[in-house]
Symmetry: C2
Subunit: 214 residues, 2 copies
């Protein structure tokens, strides 16, 4: 039973990235601090080929998400930071390195067609030009019964929410106010949407709030 | 030791009120749902002269806030919904009734001078025209060692945050996306601000997140 989910770190004031994202600072000014809780875990570091890190409840949360995810969806900017024609994108192969941390198919929403990009470790970036529903249909197939994770950015998450296609989400609220940046949510829904809290996992590093949408 | 605090219900997408607030619907379209967790408690209902309600952890949270607060600060719109000269305000005596639920001094930030308005039950509205710091100084004196609660609206809370005058805050995150409305936070700070989580109280009706700012 594939679920469509997003699972994202935000500041207390609701930003998922700081202002002025760039190739050098993809999470924007101050944005890395949102992910400190994850960076500190053994499971996250392992997934990114790094030693060390702590075991415990937050490492388990990272592990749970990684285990549950069979395919990932993301926007073009999250893939490379760029826009427009691929030939003009200075970072056209993406900023995820030769061995990206996904190890499954990643569907990239773009207006510019392109052949799939096969990386090491089982990650293939597939470029989808016919919209969010088509991308989700492909991702569902690729997920093999596991979850489809909508990785971001905010505009992509908002589009799937608006379209009523999200089943569950989890927010990792980092203990800081960013003060500026990219808000996860925008005034995007036409009517209020009740959600069902599924759990709260509390730690000094972040408050982890789970919700079921439908 | 007076603390300066705010303590407010928001949606998962960060709105403290729905869109199109009016005299008939001061919390905006859909905004009342943010406060369902509180409306359901015995302590909240008692404070508002109503019977019934449930005891338990959320009633205790309401009680804790009421007990701790010695003075309240609010913006003009939160007092009456109006703006401009008092003579032109159709709701110039406020929408809090003859026996408002504060039972202490409430300092209203306004550009329009006015004598204090004494209500039943110990609530006096004092109108302050010389800015947020002057209002806070008056509220501190009136609080008698208890907390000063910045009740709202969002712009008032943001001004106190920006000025570095908030000691602690608590967010009651109601399980719904409002989709539109008045955001609690705006891109208002000049730099990221780390906060210290003090506790999380979790219930099906809301996730209650406490933070210390300084």
């Amino acid at each position: 039973m594939t679920k469509v989910v997003f699972d994202i770190s935000i500041s207390v004031d609701g930003f998922l990235a700081g202002p002025n994202a760039s190739l050098e600072e993809p999470l924007g000014a101050g944005g890395e601090a949102l992910h400190e809780w994850a960076f500190a875990t053994k499971r996250f570091r392992e997934q990114h080929g790094l030693d060390g890190g702590e075991e415990g409840v937050e490492s388990d949360l990272v592990d749970e998400r990684l285990q549950a995810t069979g395919a990932t969806l993301m926007g073009r900017r999250m893939f490379s930071g760029g826009t427009g024609a691929w030939d003009d994108d200075p970072n056209g192969d993406g900023w995820w390195g030769d061995d990206p941390p996904f190890h499954h198919s990643v569907f990239v929403l773009t207006h510019h067609p392109r052949e799939p990009l096969v990386k090491q470790g089982g990650t293939t970036f597939v470029f989808v030009t016919d919209g969010i529903e088509a991308a989700l249909a492909q991702a569902r197939k690729a997920a093999g019964g596991k979850d489809v994770l909508i990785a971001g950015g905010a505009d992509v998450i908002q589009q799937y929410l608006q379209a009523g296609l999200v089943d569950e989400f989890q927010l990792h609220v980092a203990p800081l106010l960013l003060g500026a940046g990219v808000p996860l949510f925008a005034p995007a829904l036409e009517a209020p949407l009740r959600v069902e809290p599924t759990r709260v996992v509390d730690s000094p590093a972040a408050a982890h709030l789970g919700y079921r949408v439908r």
